[in-house]
């Protein structure tokens, strides 16, 4: 259709020049006009992946500019791609469980496994992550992951109480439990609470009904439904004392900021979100995108991902983990990414306490979504 989505726009300012100071910038805002043209890379991702802390160095080195479009959930991502002309998005950051759907709809290009460091993965699951391969063809490259469990304010809840999803029902928390406004992680947790364990996504009609009942019984505790920003603010200012549907990816940021919050993987088990890169079908910049993915899988990129300002994720490569321990031991420690530490994310996976987030097996996403709307209205 139209080319305009891909149309080259001049890159007006280079970040490093601008960092010199606002005053100078204010007087010469468009000084960069005459500079060499910059290639734009359209990125579809969760919030934060296209921000300078993630892509800045790569932009500098390669004279490219990332133009991010942020989505709010896997189905939202699919919808955004569906309504845009093919080739609109050069790089797509997808949740692991949605890769298969992206592939099925023909939205993404195949990748060459030889381009990426599969030999260096921290866990064998990461080399053959479900849905990322179609037979021997690779479609998506895992970038990082994070674990979801009980996130709570440490002044309102003890680690003991948080060690079970039961903790959300604590009477003192009435009106202080928040939900991240997406059905998958929340209902997944309720399913875990019901003891479905590894079968948390594969629910029979009765089990699904039980999950709905459990969820509904939590409703009276709930103080609100939030997007990323709202979740953040709610936990930080004490408006919410416990959050369902999130994990260290949010509390980690707040912890760095000194807030009394933490996330634990409760005894019923936790959920892992997995974020992976795909190359958009029809992208004219596939080579650039490939080198970006390679860069993000390099130790340097893995450290950036672990330190990501918007929300952290754990490293998937050994080299990345090693480098993080070396350059930012504080963050490595905070996120337990050290061998032998309790709650080391890789160890948790090995212990079988972590379940990869998936989509419902016996129900449709729509059913879950409908129930979620009902729940919000209850």
């Amino acid at each position: 259709m139209e080319k305009s989505n891909k149309k080259q726009q001049k890159h007006y300012l280079r970040r490093d020049v601008l960092r010199i100071g606002g005053g100078v910038v204010l007087s010469t805002p468009f000084v960069g006009r005459a500079w060499a043209q910059t290639t734009e890379i359209n990125m579809l991702a969760w919030y934060g992946h296209g921000e300078p802390d993630m892509v800045g160095a790569f932009e500098e080195a390669n004279n490219v500019k990332f133009v991010p479009k942020y989505y709010a959930g896997g189905d939202n991502m699919l919808a955004l791609i569906a309504q845009s002309p093919p080739g609109t998005y050069d790089i797509i950051l997808s949740d692991g469980e949605f890769v298969q759907q992206l592939n099925a709809a023909g939205y993404i290009e195949a990748l060459d496994p030889n381009d990426y460091p599969f030999e260096d993965m921290l866990h064998e699951d990461f080399t053959k992550f479900p849905g990322h391969w179609d037979g021997d063809t690779l479609y998506s490259m895992i970038l990082r992951g994070g674990h979801l469990g009980v996130s709570y304010n440490t002044t309102a809840m003890s680690a003991e109480e948080a060690s079970s999803y039961e903790g959300f029902w604590k009477p003192e928390l009435k009106g202080k439990v928040g939900h991240f406004d997406w059905h998958l992680p929340n209902l997944g947790m309720m399913s875990l609470k019901n003891g479905n364990g590894a079968g948390l996504w594969d629910l029979t009609g009765d089990q699904w009904q039980a999950v709905q009942d459990t969820t509904m019984s939590l409703r009276q505790q709930v103080g609100g439904f939030f997007d990323y920003g709202g979740t953040f603010n709610g936990l930080k200012n004490g408006e919410m004392l416990a959050m369902c549907g999130i994990g260290d990816w949010i509390t980690g940021v707040l912890e760095r900021d000194g807030a009394p919050v933490a996330s634990v993987i409760p005894k019923e088990g936790g959920i892992q979100f997995t974020e992976s890169y795909c190359i958009g079908k029809g992208s004219s910049k596939a080579d650039l995108v490939k080198s970006f993915i390679q860069y993000m899988l390099s130790p340097e990129g893995q450290v950036k991902s672990a330190q990501m300002l918007a929300y952290p994720g754990f490293c998937v490569t050994k080299a990345g983990r090693a480098m993080l321990q070396e350059v930012d031991p504080k963050e490595a420690k905070r996120s337990h990414q050290m061998d032998g530490m309790p709650n080391d994310p890789i160890a948790l996976i090995n212990e079988g306490r972590i379940h990869y987030r998936d989509i419902p097996q016996q129900q449709s996403l729509e059913d879950w979504n409908d129930f979620w709307s009902e729940y919000k209205n209850a």
Binding site: R19, G21, V25, P29, K69, G229
Partner: protein, 264 residues
């Protein structure tokens, strides 16, 4: 009527209303200079960190540039649309005048979220979505009624003989338009340009839906509020405030005060 006491009570009441209206604006200004990322009481240190941050962010500059393009173009288009309708209403009577006026006056009665939904669906069907132009088209439809109202009010104050007088003195209809109608409406036209530009500059719902990858300032604000929430929002807000307020003041000085004066 009775007295002093009532006046004091009313004065306090009006002050309370104004406090409510201006509290968020005031605190936004305060937080924009506050060092804390999540502002709470007591306040942190004075800091211009957030301003430095937005000023050094090329994406925000790009958004400002987009916003300026969108709001000026919208203002010109909407004022043109508003002027044409106002003039037609002033000058002509015809059979379908009711529907004709409804056509331009109805959009503000439809919630923005619905307009946004409909616009995106329709514009992407026409292959016009995801560009700055898409925002401009949508905004021109949304703001034209305000332009129409302002200019119509001005025309209402005009002696209808003025235009005929120009013809009578040998001016063609076009000359009369250029030398009489337009000069007479000039204050209203300028007000309308300022007001429509200001409305467009702050509109986010429709812009967010139809803009695709092009961001305007309010979209950047929305994304920060949805995402990495931080006081940059307040810094940008202060900036938007200053821009809008200069437009509004300009409009006020030129036209609105006259309206209120002549109406009370």
């Amino acid at each position: 009527m009775h007295g002093r006491g009532l006046n004091i009570i009313l004065g306090v009441y009006v002050a309370l209303i104004f406090t409510f209206v201006f509290a968020p604006i005031f605190f936004s200004l305060v937080f924009s200079f506050n060092s804390q990322r999540f502002p709470t009481i007591p306040l942190g240190e004075f800091s211009t960190e957030w301003y430095a941050k937005i000023l050094s962010d090329p994406d925000i500059w790009q958004a400002v540039r987009n916003s300026v393009i969108v709001s000026t173009t919208t203002a010109i288009l909407a004022t043109t649309l508003g002027f044409c309708t106002a003039y037609t209403d002033f000058r002509y009577n015809f059979r379908f005048k009711g529907p004709y006026l409804a056509l331009i006056l109805l959009p503000p009665t439809i919630p923005l979220i619905i307009m946004a939904l409909a616009m995106l669906a329709w514009l992407s069907r026409l292959g016009l979505s995801g560009q700055l132009w898409s925002i401009i088209m949508a905004h021109s439809v949304l703001t034209a009624p305000f332009a129409m109202a302002i200019i119509r009010l001005r025309l209402h104050q005009m002696d209808p003989d003025l235009e005929a007088a120009a013809w009578n003195l040998g001016g063609t209809e076009w000359q009369a338009m250029r030398h009489v109608i337009v000069p007479f409406c000039m204050p209203a036209i300028i007000s309308s340009l300022c007001l429509t530009a200001a409305v467009s500059f702050d509109e986010f719902a429709v812009a967010w839906f139809v803009s695709g990858l092009n961001k305007t300032v309010p979209i950047v604000i929305l994304e920060i509020v949805q995402g990495n929430i931080d006081p940059q929002v307040n810094a940008i807000g202060t900036f938007v405030f200053l821009t809008s307020i200069s437009l509004v003041v300009a409009a006020q000085v030129i036209f609105i005060s006259r309206q209120i004066k002549s109406h009370s």
